[in-house]
Subunit: 434 residues, 2 copies
């Protein structure tokens, strides 16, 4: 295998064979192919794209680079994966909701990516909570609790781990084939037989438009099915932050309140219910997935699973009894509306980056994280505000940084002098199983 020849083949628009990708990736992992040749290959893939067959082959190559977890065939294993949004704490909701119905949810999750929050950062705001487990312990957690949310171990899909880090620093993140192989290799290797993908679309998502999202959905489903996984996609709106809170501790607090049944409508409620319904549907439990059952679950059953989950992973379960233990950062900065009007557009990506500036996320691995930093941002597109009303409130630990971030967030809201129609949170479904 001549690496330059393979780079040239892809660069010139010819497809790569499975064994060629296998050889290229293995040589890279063994340091026989240097970073710069992989970087050139990734950029060539960005421009030349891949056929669905190539994407499936690459996914397989990724999977085979590490260990593959498996669960007993009679377990109803199902995972939910989000392509990343702002205020997206839905993993903390759907996992206990599905587990409370007898599904088992083996979830390997990530830290923040770009402007989006990461489920692991959120959970790590709970004192004592651990996300690093061996595969054996991960399986035991899923068996005992019905769910687990852990970090990717070094041994699971090491190819993705290393190539993802390189993509991040070479401007090759936004490639649908590479995104597909990255997501699906982990989701297949983690052993879930069923998978619902919450494919975010809009200003606050990585996918800005439906045609791109639909192409990605097709690639994700085909890759999953090539490895025997049943995959359904929900397209959801990411033109506004999801729910009312964005941050880490404040999102966990909001999730716990949700599981107490304090929320009965809104974008987060609707999307959570649909994702839960489809997770059950993939597991052959459509009959159980009624609205009534959903509401019943929020009268204690799901919360109980969540409590056991927090405790099993070393977290302080008192936060479940008293979510106010998860306090927001001490400095509160109001974000007033500059004018009368209706919210016409929200730059959720800008909000995400503003919150990173106060420590709610990281730009680099060595940036300090402030788990208590966050914002209360309840307004959605179509909401009416008057000059001086609060668009929201920012919570932080350093006033100067907070003032700047609050100003940046205020600038993310575009107001219209004419009434604006609210947007639906669910944009569509692609699911041939339920």
């Amino acid at each position: 295998m001549n690496p330059v020849e393979l780079i040239l083949r892809k660069r010139n628009g010819l497809p790569l064979l499975r064994e060629e990708m296998q050889a290229f990736v293995s040589a890279y992992l063994n340091d026989a192919i240097p970073e710069y040749q992989m970087a050139a290959m990734l950029m060539a893939i960005f421009f030349r794209d891949m056929t669905p067959e190539e994407v499936q082959a690459l996914t397989g190559v990724y999977i085979e680079s590490g260990e593959r977890i498996s669960f007993p065939a009679d377990w109803l294993t199902v995972d939910k994966h989000s392509t990343g949004g702002v205020g997206d704490k839905l993993s903390l909701l759907v996992a206990p909701l599905a587990a409370a119905c007898g599904c088992r949810v083996p979830m390997i999750s990530g830290r923040g990516l770009g402007h989006t929050g990461g489920t692991l950062y959120k959970l790590e705001s709970v004192p004592g909570f651990r996300t690093g487990f061996s595969s054996a312990d991960f399986k035991r957690l899923v068996e005992d609790v019905g769910m687990a949310i852990v970090a990717q171990s070094e041994r699971l899909v090491p190819a993705d781990k290393r190539i993802y880090a390189l993509r991040d620093v070479t401007g090759t993140v936004e490639s649908l084939p590479l995104i597909t192989a990255s997501i699906m290799s982990k989701k297949i290797a983690e052993g879930a037989a069923n998978l619902i993908i919450d494919l975010k679309v809009g200003a606050g998502a990585f996918m800005k438009d439906m045609p791109t999202a639909q192409r990605l959905a097709g690639l994700l489903i085909a890759a999953g099915e090539a490895f025997g996984q049943r995959v359904g996609v929900v397209y959801s709106n990411m033109n506004a932050p999801l729910g009312d809170w964005v941050g880490n501790a404040v999102e966990v607090r909001e999730a716990i309140r949700f599981l107490y049944g304090h929320v009965t409508s809104g974008d987060q409620f609707e999307l959570t219910r649909l994702l839960w319904r489809d997770m059950l549907g993939l597991c052959g439990k459509s009959a159980e997935a009624t609205d009534e059952r959903f509401e019943a679950l929020l009268r204690g059953e799901a919360l109980e699973v969540f409590r056991r989950f927090v405790a099993a992973q070393g977290g302080d379960a008192r936060v479940v009894d008293n979510p106010n233990l998860l306090t927001a950062a001490p400095i509160e900065i109001p974000i007033p509306a500059p004018d009368n009007g209706w919210v016409q557009a929200i730059d959720s990506q800008g909000i995400g980056y503003a919150l990173i500036d106060v420590g709610a996320g990281r730009r680099r691995l060595d940036d300090a994280l402030d788990y208590a930093a966050g914002a209360h941002l309840p307004h959605k597109i179509g909401a009416e505000v008057r000059r001086g009303d609060l668009l929201g409130r920012l919570y932080c630990s350093h006033r100067a940084k907070g003032e700047a971030a609050a100003q940046r967030i205020a600038g993310c809201y575009k107001l219209s002098s004419e009434k604006v129609v609210p947007q639906p949170v669910v944009l569509g479904r692609l699911n041939r199983w339920c």
Copy 2:
């Protein structure tokens, strides 16, 4: 300067500013930007191309990475650059021919590139010949002899030296903006006020078609003129090896015989005369550049310059008196025509690679070079051959490798049963100076 942001800008089709390229290239040369980010940038440039302004800016950034040689303004300095062909020994001809007319030819040349031969490899087949000189010695050679052909020093355009090596291993060689910056930075930094580019087009060239060649010509000329250099382009046919011989020692031998006046027609004769005419034209000596003067130069004047040039650079000048001292390799393998017919097409690139297999060139820097290996291949497109006639002869030092190469060369000739029209060697000129 954030390197990823600049990669993304170029990847997304936005032009880069001069100071951004300056910062990116300097950081790369200082090892503050790793190879993989430069590799990603190069591949993004390959796909997104560059505006002429960007190309000129990049050329400037390259030049400023090292020293710039200058000659007295009243010297008629002129160089000739070939974009690379098979059998192309014209530097050895036009340099002494122009120098014999009072021009000064400061030529910094290369070793072989891909399937094409390199002038330095050819010259190094002369016992004792040296190509490594300091800038001061280079200038002295040009002053004393009227010409010099040397290797690029470490101090001349180090940016190109390093980036070229990276392009070579990342599949990013064939990018017109990168080719332009690479060629022109060296040609401007070496100090020649005038430059004729022999832009090869065809199966044996890097440019396979005229539209690509014309775009490159425009970029080369604009880059030169941005730095005060007068540039003319000659488009020449590279669908057949140039002249009768391909190799190293055998090409020098052919060049010396040419300078003795043994050749009076043919592709090599015509192209050499045109390049010489345009070199003189750029120097304001059009009146002198007649066919009669050209033929007169081949009665001893040019050969005398060549003799002094070889001696001044440490070479054994006896080869000039007796070119047969430059012997071909001992094993001669005939290459018979498989059929009657007319030569319709010649895969000159394939011939170049076949000769590399017998040591006439290198694939890797540590490959052994056999200066005496080569081939006599006098047939051009349109030539009539009969079954059993020789297409040519291969000369090598290892019979088994030679047999394989000879077979490969035979396969590079496509014969037609119908008469084929010969092709002109000169395809056009782009020159606003003469």
